[in-house]
């Protein structure tokens, strides 16, 4: 029981790191970016390729898996995404689906359509005992790393100067601009960090979720669920939602058959939406 719970929390933490960038662009900036999973896929493939072709150590891959998607994100934000901010949701949906399709097609063409895996270093394999509960070392590693990231992000959003500038830009871009906040640069930096975190999540998730060219489409629904269920008030909501979904998904698949267990998260989502249509943590105003 405790082991299942632990696995669920690890899965939820992973979902949070994958989706938290989207929670900011979609939840706070109100920009529908369905291509978020493409950045996660980029991070995953960077790790796979580095480890396979250059025998790079796993830990050394993680910063690259963050930096490269962040750089791609920054580039795309400055060239393409920037023009889509004020547009209708339909335009944003079309645009980002187009991005997903191109990412899928390019990955399929250059890297092949089969699923890729990584070989974890020995010290992350196997299981350990924590307070009498048998836990997978890699999952513990994910929980520690992602938990630290979640705290860091919350602190960054609430306590730093950049965080308050971002919140101001999101609340009212015009006034923020009038106060001398470089709104465009703030958004670009936020977008880059969000993409980078997705890439990091993709790298960490390669072992648990596997990675193939259709990754962005397969996980699109999870990202959307995290943001919708979490509500659009900040990153606390998506964090709680990710944990809830992770635990529900793992428990459902363990206690029910794996065919039925897949439906548990949808039941959870329906219940949440019926009780709280605008998410667990709705914006106060």
């Amino acid at each position: 029981m405790a082991t299942i719970l632990f696995d669920g929390v690890a899965y939820g933490m992973l979902l949070f790191v994958l989706a938290c960038g989207l929670a900011v662009t979609l939840g706070l900036m109100n920009f529908v970016n369905l291509a978020h999973g493409a950045f996660a896929m980029a991070g995953g493939y960077v790790t796979v390729l580095l480890m396979d072709n250059w025998d790079a150590p796993f830990l050394a891959c993680l910063p690259v898996a963050f930096a490269l998607p962040a750089a791609i994100g920054l580039l795309l934000e400055r060239t393409l995404y920037r023009h889509m901010y004020g547009r209708s949701h339909l335009d944003q949906v079309l645009f980002s689906i187009g991005m997903v399709f191109i990412a899928v097609a390019a990955t399929d063409y250059f890297l092949g359509s089969s699923q890729r895996n990584i070989h974890l270093p020995d010290w992350l394999r196997g299981r350990g005992q924590v307070m009498g509960v048998s836990v997978g070392l890699y999952r513990a590693f994910i929980i520690v790393l992602c938990g630290a990231l979640a705290f860091g992000l919350q602190a960054g959003l609430m306590k730093t100067r950049f965080g308050s500038r971002l919140r101001a830009s999101v609340d009212d871009a015009r006034v923020a601009r009038g106060l001398g906040i470089p709104v465009g640069m703030v958004f670009a930096a936020t977008f880059a960090v969000g993409s980078g975190l997705a890439g990091l999540g993709g790298a960490l998730g390669t072992e648990l979720l596997g990675i193939d060219p259709y990754f962005p489409l397969k996980f699109m629904i999870y990202f959307l669920i995290v943001v919708t269920v979490g509500g659009t008030s900040g990153i606390t909501g998506p964090f709680v939602a990710s944990l809830l979904l992770g635990v529900a998904d793992v428990m459902g698949k363990y206690y029910l058959s794996s065919a039925l267990g897949g439906f548990v998260i949808y039941v959870v989502v329906i219940v949440v939406l019926v009780l709280r249509p605008s998410g667990l943590f709705a914006r106060a105003r």
Binding site: V32, R87, V93, G98, V104
Partner: protein, 321 residues
């Protein structure tokens, strides 16, 4: 009084419309060869018409419209395999099943914002895909539903190898449902939908029962999508899991956007362009088709649909002058 006159004027048949339908029906008599793709076009057109009802008129963005398409396809397939082989009966059952599911899921879809709708529509399609995959004893699972023997239409017209009967059947269904849709959108009901799309708050302040109208049109669109799915199942005598896949929802969205949402013919024009492009571009490799589709969507969104349509209209008037 004025409003009624205005509605009547908008609803008048134009000669270009009549010419289009006459040409479409005349195509049945063409020498064999093109009917298979024409049938596909007619089915996609009906599917896109159904999306147009909710997207173009009511402003609901759906990422999972294939849910109802697939449901209709499976309903028609199972009906044919186990109960009755008359296609029209299967079509009716498929429409009823999809419409009912649309009615039920509309209660979820209409809660919350655009964002919630994206998630719920996508989620409904995924859940149905999972169900179809989890019940291989009924749906055939990943192998698809095989062994359908579709009876002759009305007991007289058997489906032939070249798809002539299939095209005639699909086109006739499209035409009848199109007439109904045309009647609906030019009625006060259709006007109220457009009011809701432009401004939901003002529409409700004017006394439009927003939720009830949206539920009604969502169920209607689901019925239409079910009909399209049933047509595909019956004319190909096969249903596979890909009727429920995300790509199908994206295809129909793209087809509708190519033709332009919100004027009923958008789906038909879009289906025509989309299928011809797909036929031409995907002959080399499926990845290329996905790439072209993505590129097209991005350019479309960046340039702006309004500007593109204004450009086309400009070209048309220039051609006339």
């Amino acid at each position: 009084m004025n409003a009624a006159l205005g509605l009547a004027r908008r609803a008048r048949w134009r000669w270009l419309e009549m010419a289009f339908w006459i040409a479409a029906f005349a195509a049945i008599l063409m020498p064999a060869g093109a009917h298979l793709i024409l049938n596909e076009i007619a089915i996609l057109a009906l599917f896109a018409l159904s999306l147009d009802l909710i997207l173009g008129y009511a402003g609901i963005i759906s990422l999972g419209h294939a849910a109802f398409f697939g449901l209709g396809a499976y309903a028609a397939g199972l009906m044919c395999k186990y109960f009755a082989q008359e296609p029209l009966l299967g079509l009716a059952v498929a429409m009823a099943a999809s419409g009912l599911t649309g009615l039920l899921s509309s209660l979820l879809v209409l809660r919350g914002s655009d964002l919630t709708r994206l998630m719920v529509t996508l989620g409904v399609a995924l859940v149905l895909h999972e169900i179809a995959n989890a019940l291989p004893q009924w749906t055939g699972g990943a192998d698809g539903l095989q062994g359908m023997v579709v009876g002759p239409l009305l007991g007289r017209f058997a489906f032939d190898l070249f798809g002539r009967t299939a095209y005639a059947y699909s086109l006739a269904t499209l035409f009848v449902l199109f007439l109904l849709a045309r009647r609906v959108v030019y009625s006060p009901f259709g006007m109220s939908l457009m009011a809701i799309r432009r401004n939901q708050l003002r529409a409700s302040a004017l006394g439009v029962p927003v939720n009830r109208r949206l539920i009604a049109v969502y169920a209607l669109a689901a019925t239409y999508a079910g009909a399209a799915g049933a047509l595909l199942a019956q004319t190909t005598a096969y249903v596979s899991l890909d009727v429920l896949e995300f790509n199908r929802s994206a295809d129909v969205l793209l087809a509708l956007i190519i033709g332009g949402a919100g004027w009923l013919y958008g789906g038909i024009v879009g289906a025509l362009v989309f299928k011809i492009l797909q036929d031409y571009l995907s002959s080399s490799a499926p990845q290329f088709w996905l790439f072209w589709m993505g590129l097209f969507l991005i350019v479309l969104a960046l340039v702006g649909r309004e500007r593109l349509r204004a450009g086309m209209r400009g070209a048309l008037t220039w051609a006339k002058a």
